[in-house]
Every structure is written in C-alpha cells, then in structure tokens.
Amino acid sequence: MLSIQEIMETIRMVQQENLDIRTVTMGISLRDCCHGDHKAVGRRMYDKITRLAENLVRTGEEIEREYGIPIVNKRISVTPISMVGESSDTDDFGFFADVMDRAAGEVGVNFIGGFSALVHKGFTSGDSKLLKAIPNALAATQRVCASVNVATTKAGINMDAVYEMGKIIKEAAALTADKDGLACAKLVVFANVPEDNPFMAGAFHGIGEPECVINVGVSGPGVIKNAVDKAKDADFGTLAEIIKRTAFKVTRMGELVGRAASAKLGVPFGIVDLSLAPTPAVGDSVADILEGMGLERCGTHGTTAALALLNDAVKKGGAMASSYVGGLSGAFIPVSEDAGMIRAVSEGALSLDKLEAMTCVCSVGLDMIAVPGETSAETISAIIADEAAIGMVNQKTTAVRIIPAPGKKEGDYVEFGGLLGRAPIITVNKFSSTEFVRRGGRIPAPIQSLRN
C-alpha cells in the first residue's frame, strides 16, 4: 500500500533535491571490428556503434517521460581501442578517435569512452600507439574520453606507464591551453580499473563483457544531504541507518531505469553503479553531506571518517536495492564538479593531501583537480604513483584526473562549464620527485596479491 506521503516523498526528491539518473551508458564490444586495413576497422566501428546505439537517446527520453525521473546523460563505452586498432596497418590511432567522435555525434550522445589501454604490466604495440595518440585525439575531438590503467593489485604499478602519463597529461593540457587544459578533463589514469563503469571519463567496455550491455549510474547527493540534515542530533549508528535507507531509495530508481532501458532496447542489463555523483548545481554536493554531518568545512579534521561512514552506508543501502552492483560504486569527490568542494578548496579547508587521504577510505580518486600550469610531468607522475599505490595496496579502484592548467597559478580558477564545472588551482608540494619517477620499471605487486 502506497501512502500519499510516500508518493510526495518521491516527487520531492526529484523536484527539490535533484534526484536524477546521472547516466545510462551502453557498452558495445568492438572486438569483431578488427581488420588489417584501418579504414575497414573505422567503417565497422562506425556501423556497429550507430546501429546498436541508434535508439539509445530516444529510449532514454521515453523513460524520462514515463517515470518522471530525469536521465541527465546517455553515453556509450566501447572496447579499449588499443585492442581494436592493434592489428590494423596504421600507426595513427587518432583516426579511431575521430571515428568514435563522429559515431557518438550521429547517435546524439555527449561522451563516448573507450579510447583506452590496459598497461599495468607493460605495453603492446597497440597500447603504445594509443598512448601516443591521446593528447591530439582529446584536443581534436569533442566527445571522446580516454583512460589508461597503470596498476593493479595483482600486477603492481607500471612506473614506465605512470611517467608516460605525466608527460601525456602535460601535452594534452598544452594542446588545449586556450580552454584551460580541457583535454585533461577527458583523461583518467586508473589503478584496478573496473570493466563495467558507466561514468565518464573512465568508462570503457571490458573484455569480459557481452556484445552489448546497459549500465546505469545513479546520482542523488541532494537527497542524502536532506536526510542527513533532518538527523541533526542523531548518533552515528542512527545516521548510518538513515543514509542506508535513503541510498536504497535512490538506487531503486537506477534499478528501475536500468531494467526499463534494457527491456526497451533488447539489450542485457549489466549493473547499477552506486556512486553518489555530484554536480556543480547548488544542493547536489557530496561536500555538503559531509558538512551536514557536523564539519564546519569539508577537508577539516574528521572529513575522512565522515566520508568512510557515508560511503559504507551508501553501499549497504544500495546493494540491497539492486540485483547487480558494479562499476566504481564509491563516493565521487570531483573538485570542479561539486560546489561544496570548490568552496572548501577556495577557503583553504581542503588540500591535495587531504583529498588523497579521503581516497583511502573508498572514494574513487583524485578527480578533476586543477594544479598550477608549471607543475612538471614528473610531479604529476608522482601524484599518480601515490594514488595507484593506494589502490594497489587496498585492492580498490583509484583514479587520477588532473589538469595542469596552462598559465594558471595558485589562487586562479579554471572554467570548463557544464557538468565539468570550475575549479580553484590547488597547491602542489614544491619539492621534486623527479629522480624517483625516472627510475623506471615496475613496482612489484604487494604481498596481499598472493591470495591463491
């Protein structure tokens, strides 16, 4: 029996608390697009993407209309292009990025992920060609997102790849200097990357995935924030319980939309990603939730504990609400995409070091962090290495999406607009890591990888 209060609760979540489905992402395997002739690969990729995703946007809009729940993004992820293009006759993988961009434009999605390579233990020839093409590909296309996995718990950290990524990030920033280094916002460096993540920029269609699949990412920091606000004097056990119950309701919407999209498109339903994804909109902030728990500003002492509680309660509630949970499923703390995070950095409450600490308790990583333009490739690589080490040792996903904004220094802002938002330039440690990063080779897998 539904009560009028329950019905109004749902309506309030959507209208006043920004409850929405952040993304419905269609994963498409391009493994059957390989060919010796790169033009044939391009044709096959284009045809397959436009055929399978032809109705993705229309179906998403239909579901929005029927259920009255906004679906903010409809997106596509594909098999890592390092594999798809590897057997072809071209060294210029930018060609494939262009094909992805055109196909995404044709079906009307705003981002397509999968310009990716998995190099945690070393490079194949396709991996090297892909990495080489990343800066230009991201500068020249609008919709293509790239990701590179440089570490796993099982394989350790490929420090050659980490150093390479530092240089690639610098180059990508330089090529888009007129847009504050926008290309870097479309590039994620991972440790322990999941194969079914629906969220950009790190989405790709893993090699263990089926031909085509629908994955859903939920949102809803505003809903959790409101629930937390109502529990002002509650102790931690009660607070966790309230967050769990609310996360359950939020995730149920993801499950409903995922099932509906899967049925309408005739494509299997993969997973719901439980991550609380913030937006720059007021009231849609993860930092605001942490502050609602009693911290004056996000980033002060106690923030890591608050995030640990939040993240765990969201997972416990969410896991009960969905038949298949996957992807990243951890709180996102992207600085530029979260109004509360931006304020915390601007006011000096939140530092890079604190953000790193927060990523240890299950947030996904250093996301959308703008650093001074003069930051060296070696320092960026060292930041990536630290984050990869956290992921490797704790057997979790960590990621780095960092923007060395050309010509900007501490106190300045970068402006990307839309969902990518704006960010204050954050302070980076002034001491060099160059000799460390330049050693090269691999950091061996930790002892906890030996589990058999």
Binding site: M1, L2, S3, I4, Q5, E6, I7, M8, E9, T10, I11, R65, E66, Y67, G68, I69, K249, R252, M253, E255, L256
Partner: protein, 102 residues
C-alpha cells in the same frame, strides 16, 4: 490506499499516478477528471490532503484504453494545470512501487 501488486493482474504496467499540487480552489477535481474522461482514462483511486500548506491530490488511473499517447496526455494535463494555477505530474506507478516497496 493504492494497493496493487505489480505484474499480477491484468493491465499491470498501465497504471499511472497523477499528482496535483498547488493552492486549493473550486473545480480542481472537476477540471482534472474532465481531461481524463475525455480521453477514456479510468480513475481507480483518488485522495487529497494538505501537506505543508499545499493542496495535494493524488490519483491512480488506468490508461489501458487511453485514446491518446502517454506523452500527449501528460501535455494536456500540464496545460490544464497551468490554466488552474496548479502543478500536475503524471508518472508511471512503478516509480513509486519500486522506490518504496520490495
């Protein structure tokens, strides 16, 4: 109120929830039900209350025989809402069942 087991009865999946919010006035039910009747939408349940000083009416309807498309019905009700100074929403019933019931 609004008891229903999804998927176990004929017409399941064809039920919608119409919510009407705004300032109370004469003719709300008449106005909304006229639009529904014109299009062969059957009202199964209706309930109204005042929540935080806002007039709130919730209707559960069967749209199996509805003469027009769901999107068109939604637009007509929205237009009627604007005429009466009310906010009218139409959503598939599953949204509420899914969120509040296991």
């Amino acid at each position: 109120m609004f008891e229903h087991r999804p998927g176990r009865e004929e017409g399941a999946g064809k039920r919608v929830v119409i919510t009407v919010l705004g300032k109370d006035r004469v003719g709300i039910i008449a106005g909304v039900s006229a639009v529904l009747a014109e299009n062969d939408v059957n009202i199964l349940d209706i309930s109204q209350t005042i929540l935080q000083d806002i007039f709130t009416m919730v209707m559960v309807c069967d749209i199996r025989n509805c003469k027009i498309e769901f999107g068109a019905l939604k637009e007509k009700l929205k237009a009627k809402g604007e005429e009466l100074g009310l906010q009218i929403q139409v959503q598939h019933e599953d949204v509420f069942q899914f969120m509040h019931r296991i």
